[in-house]
């Protein structure tokens, strides 16, 4: 794989998917191509003489459970072929893929079907949605073909639709949706089966940059909730670094380097990787105002603890922001403290945490990193008079970084 001396072999990595010496060729005269390859002939020569395209050439990597593995490369580098081999949409020419230690090539057709139905699902670049079905029936498709009854699959699908923030759109035809919304449907559909592994083949490439950023952010928050193993294919190095715990760079069907984003930035394996990393658009500077959100749970001081509890419950949050009548920020009340107030152990005033990091809307995100790394709560955004304008979460700060 890579020859980076800085990577320490971590002893207890939980490997869910292991790819060993994966090779995929397209064309008829594969055996001849293999011979030529053994003699060290180039990919172009082989294509010219035999008509065989070597899309993937001796690729190996390991994906850790619950982590995101980004596979990045230019178009034609073979990354989409790799991902299609992982669920056997395309059968590898050579090499093995192990899922939880089982070689997928040994699966019977029945087992392969089960593997696809329950353990691995995929999100596509141009969405791959069924245009003759509405959003709900698209999301429920994977459950439907497993023979799960209508009520159950509708419930499960609705939960996923809510998670990707498409509630209220479930009966719309997918043709009525914007690109970003369509890909939300694609993600909800892939997640509805509750798979162990999520394959994402350039899922955000077809979306415009602003929507793409939203979707990346949303993906991180979904990942925070569900902890899936994600194989993420992209040609955008920013995206790969933002989302990936591990990143592998592909070139001409081979993996050039596999590493964490930090290590890769510090020790690029060769000039190709260095150029790739340098191509990352570093000029983009983001401010707090680009990423701040309205707090979901906002209560006024005199409204008291009962309302705070009710709001936290209905929003499924563990803290609420307390302001006075003029929106001046007072502090945060946590769910624990609110319960203690109700039990009479604490006064409402004492329960409010007042020592909350604050910032202003025109601060650069980069300046917030030290603050964010220590903060227990999202950072509050205040105007010059101390009024609450919004909040900015740690995740938003970290995702905005290149």
């Amino acid at each position: 794989m890579q020859n980076n001396p800085n990577t320490n072999p971590a002893p207890e990595r939980d490997i869910i998917l292991k790819v060993e010496h994966l090779t995929k060729m397209f064309g008829r005269r594969k055996s001849q191509a293999k011979e030529m390859q053994a003699k060290g002939r180039s990919r172009d020569d082989i294509l010219k003489e035999t008509g065989v395209t070597i899309a993937v050439d001796d690729v190996s990597f390991e994906a850790e459970r619950g982590k995101t593995f980004s596979l990045i490369g230019l178009s034609g580098s073979g990354k989409s072929t790799v991902v299609r081999c992982l669920n056997f949409l395309w059968q590898p020419t050579e090499g093995s893929i192990f899922f939880n230690g089982e070689n997928i090539a040994d699966y019977s057709p029945q087992q392969l079907m089960e593997y696809r139905r329950k353990h691995i699902s995929m999100v596509f670049q141009s969405f791959g949605l069924l245009s003759h079905r509405d959003v709900l029936d698209n999301v429920a498709y994977g459950l439907e073909i497993r023979g799960i009854d209508k009520k159950k699959r509708t419930d499960a699908a609705m939960r996923m639709i809510e998670m990707v923030n498409l509630k209220g759109w479930e009966n719309k035809n997918v043709g009525e949706l914007s690109g970003g919304m369509r890909q939300r449907v694609g993600i909800a559909r892939a997640l509805a089966n509750d798979p162990d592994i999520l394959l994402m083949d350039e899922p955000f490439s077809a979306l415009d940059p602003l929507v793409r950023r939203d979707m990346q952010f949303e993906m991180l928050s979904i990942q925070e909730k569900l902890n899936k193993t994600i194989i993420f294919i992209t040609h955008d190095i920013n995206e790969a670094f933002k989302l990936g715990d591990q990143v592998a760079i592909m070139r001409d069907g081979r993996i050039v380097q596999t590493d964490t984003p930090e290590n890769m930035t510090q020790n690029p394996a060769d000039d190709y990787v260095r150029d790739f990393i340098d191509s990352a658009d570093k000029a983009q500077i983001y401010y707090v105002k680009h990423f701040m959100q309205r707090p979901a749970c906002l209560i006024r001081q005199q409204e008291g603890v009962a309302l705070a509890l009710k709001q936290m419950r209905s929003n499924d949050l563990s803290s609420a922001y307390v302001v006075d009548n003029r929106m001046k920020f007072i502090g945060v009340i946590t769910l624990d403290n609110a319960f203690r107030v109700r039990a009479g152990e604490l006064s409402f005033d004492d329960a409010i945490v007042r020592d909350v990091p604050a910032t202003t809307r025109d601060t650069q995100i980069a300046d917030l990193i030290p603050l964010a790394s220590q903060a227990r709560f999202p950072i509050v955004v205040l105007d010059e008079k101390g009024r609450l304008e919004g909040i900015i979460s740690k995740a938003a700060i970290l995702t905005s970084l290149q």
Binding site: R84, N87, L89, L112, M113, E114, Y115, R116, R117, K118, I120, S121, M122, F124, Q125, S126, F127, G128, L129, L130, S131, H132, R133, Y141, G142, E144, I145, R146, N173, G175, R189, N193, L199
Partner: protein
């Protein structure tokens, strides 16, 4: 200059007329039982369709056309026009004839779809089957129908039965082609998505491919119906009843009026069926997009 250079050489000659005559003669003499069976089955089906068509009272058919046109086009003027045109067919005394023609068309179209749709699905999956079937379809569409009318009569006798066979031969190719075309055209990622979720081949076909191809398939249905209608007059030459035979009588007896009246009725039937099935196909397209 040698003669073979300017004229086709007489030495190169092969008589294929006689073997074909012999083959048909052989079939007439030895496969009579089989063709009687085919003939009886078709006759029973025709009878059944005729009964079904004749159950519909004249006013109900006109009302149905009115309602369907209104629903598919959403325009009252068009619905009134089509209902009026249909009424006109009755007024010029060709209502019964029209029903006889509809019987043959409906029977032929049902059989064309029953045979053609599965064949279309098959050749969409298999390139080899496709290579095999396509030239046959081309032949079916381009071979002048008179050529197979004669053997059809020899094998099946005169009447509506050989008419149905001839109509099927002519009208079946579009549904085969369009079904196959529609299925092959389904977006690759959509197919991959369905496979990646673990669809069986049958689920892929019924839940993804056919619904996605439906607008194209409906266009094929429309073409098949239109081609079946276009065979009406030809088939009257081998004894098919209905509007076609009226046209033929008009020609034979030099009664232009009779010919034009029946011809107009055929045009009216064709237009109404065409617009209605196109309306359905379009409804499918709008739904799909």
């Amino acid at each position: 200059m040698p003669e073979w250079f300017t004229r086709f050489p007489q030495a190169l000659s092969l008589d294929i007329k006689k073997p074909i005559d012999d083959a048909i003669e052989y079939m007439v003499q030895n496969w009579g039982g089989f063709f009687d069976g085919v003939s009886d089955t078709l006759r029973a089906l025709l009878l059944w369709v005729r009964t079904a068509v004749n159950i519909i009272p004249w006013w109900a058919l006109i009302a149905t056309v009115f309602v369907l046109t209104l629903k598919t086009s959403g325009r009252l003027s068009r619905a009134l026009l089509y209902a009026g045109l249909l009424l006109f067919v009755g007024i010029i005394g060709l209502w019964e004839m029209m029903y006889a023609t509809l019987t043959i068309i409906v029977t032929s179209v049902i059989l064309s779809l029953l045979l053609g749709f599965p064949l279309g699905v098959l050749i969409s999956f298999s390139d080899r089957a496709s290579r095999l079937v396509r030239p046959v379809l081309d032949t079916m569409q381009t071979m002048p129908s008179f050529v197979y009318l004669i053997p059809a009569v020899m094998l099946l006798g005169l009447g509506n039965v050989p008419a149905v066979i001839a109509t099927i031969i002519y009208a079946m190719p579009p549904i085969v082609r369009m079904t196959s075309h529609g299925i092959r055209q389904v977006d690759r990622e959509v197919v991959e998505a369905a496979q990646s979720f673990g669809s069986t081949r049958f689920q892929l076909l019924t839940k993804v491919l056919i619904p996605q191809a439906m607008p194209t398939i409906m266009a094929g249905v429309n073409q098949t119906i239109m081609m079946a209608i276009s065979m009406v007059v030809t088939c009257s030459m081998i004894g098919a009843t209905g509007l076609g035979s009226e046209v033929l009588k008009g020609i034979n007896r030099l009664e232009s009026g009779r010919g034009f009246a029946a011809g107009t009725a055929i045009v009216i039937v064709a237009i109404i069926i065409d617009r209605l099935t196109q309306g359905f196909a379009k409804g499918g397209v709008e739904h799909a997009e």
